[in-house]
């Protein structure tokens, strides 16, 4: 993957697209939609199995948001948090089950193992936070917060926004990318020296897959928690 030739690209409307990311992303989007669609059939006052699961997920993401964002403002970000969490979770786990490479080029893997994708979502979160801050406090109060605690703090405040954006995106990328990298290395090791390495590698691969599954869930949770922290910080006048 580190080799540039392993990235299949095509151009459309003057923009460069990565076929790998497009295909994997579409799969993740479709899985999330089908999951939610399947769970939200037959909604009743007394919830069935699917509805219970869906309501549990909604309560979970709402709980994360409400833990950070005070008051009723959390409900405005409920849908964003819910979709973000589900998409990141599915994206993180996707590469653990399916990795397709054709002719030395990856076509399906975890979308979140590409920093462009994770930075897209962290950028979305930072922009949403800025937008929410301006919408609640107004331009004047919002930008005055950059001058707190004193005027010379301004470069640090601006830099902080930038680092928030980078760390939020790169944290999830690092964990998922390294997880997949290790899976690949273990896989290569399995077929390197015949049956002996295969027997040794299978349990290691299984353990690492389980651990990656756990890490993927944790990273989706962390991403949403940090998103809500960044949003809540912009909502209050310091």
């Amino acid at each position: 993957m580190g080799d540039p030739s392993s990235v299949p690209t095509f151009k459309f409307l003057g923009l460069t697209f990565n076929a790998d990311n497009v295909i994997s992303g579409l799969i993740a989007f479709i899985i999330v939609f089908l999951l939610v669609f399947a769970l939200s059939r037959k909604l009743t006052m007394k919830p069935g199995k699917g509805q219970n699961v869906l309501e549990w997920i909604i309560d979970f993401t709402n709980g994360i948001l409400k833990g950070q964002i005070p008051g009723n403002e959390a409900s405005a970000f409920g849908l964003y948090g819910f979709t973000l969490f589900l998409f990141l979770f599915v994206s993180n786990e996707l590469g653990l089950f399916i990795q397709i490479a054709v002719g030395g080029k990856d076509y399906v893997k975890s979308p979140t193992s590409d920093p462009m994708i994770t930075l897209t979502f962290s950028l979305a979160t930072i922009m949403l936070a800025q937008f929410a801050g301006v919408a609640k406090l107004g331009y004047k109060q919002h930008f005055r917060n950059y001058l707190k605690p004193f005027v010379f703090w301004l470069p640090i405040s601006i830099f902080e926004e930038f680092t928030n954006f980078l760390t939020l995106g790169l944290r999830i990328f690092g964990v998922i990318y390294s997880g997949e990298m290790l899976l690949k290395i273990i896989g290569q090791m399995a077929f390197s020296h015949g049956i002996a390495t295969l027997i040794v590698s299978v349990p290691i691969e299984m353990i690492w897959q389980g651990f990656s599954l756990f890490l993927g869930a944790i990273q989706a949770y962390v991403f949403l928690t940090l998103s809500s922290v960044y949003i809540s910080r912009k909502l209050e006048a310091e």
Binding site: V7, T9, T44, M116
Partner: protein, 173 residues
């Protein structure tokens, strides 16, 4: 490594991916909102409302039940009172009837007794007077028979005397 991944050699940053993901994410958000978010949240809200309503109505019915129980208790107490008054009325009436019946019977018996006494007296009087008449007739008959048989001076004299005596006695009595 980052450069290798993000910047495709010769073509620059893969901005298309970012755009693709942003648009797809917005579409996904919209679809989820349409399919699940709104109906599920509405259902959750409805459920919360229903539970609140149920709690309220349970409270309402509890107070209603307490009220009804109090009413029933009161009605029960009233019926007790009524029943005891009915019983006492009946007792009183019975007592009255008994005394009046007794008095009637007593007076009836008294009347019957006095009538019977009167009748007996009457009977006795009648029998006495009849016997007197009979005695008088018999004595006259006897007397006439004796007179027809032998009537001499002495006897005549004695008879007249006795007659006179008898008259005098008769007058006296």
């Amino acid at each position: 490594m980052l450069a290798h991944l993000t910047i495709v050699p010769g073509v620059g940053l893969a901005l298309g991916d970012m755009l693709f993901y942003a648009i797809c994410f917005i579409i996904l958000m919209w679809l989820i909102k349409l399919v699940a978010w709104k109906p599920v949240n509405k259902m959750m809200q409805d459920r919360a409302d229903k539970i609140a309503n149920d709690i309220d109505s349970a409270e309402q019915s509890r107070t209603d039940a307490a009220k009804l129980a109090a009413q029933r208790q009161e009605a029960l107490a009233n019926s007790h009172k009524e029943a005891s008054s009915i019983v006492s009325d009946a007792k009183q009436q019975g007592q009255q009837t008994r005394t009046s019946l007794l008095a009637d019977a007593q007076s009836d018996v008294q009347t019957l007794k006095s009538n019977a006494q009167k009748d007996i007296e009457q009977e006795r009087q009648d029998a006495l007077s009849n016997a007197k008449n009979d005695v008088a007739d018999l004595s006259i008959e006897i007397a006439s028979k004796i007179i027809h048989k032998e009537l001499n001076a002495n006897d005549q004299k004695a008879l007249i005397d006795s007659y006179i005596e008898g008259l005098g006695k008769h007058n006296e009595s």
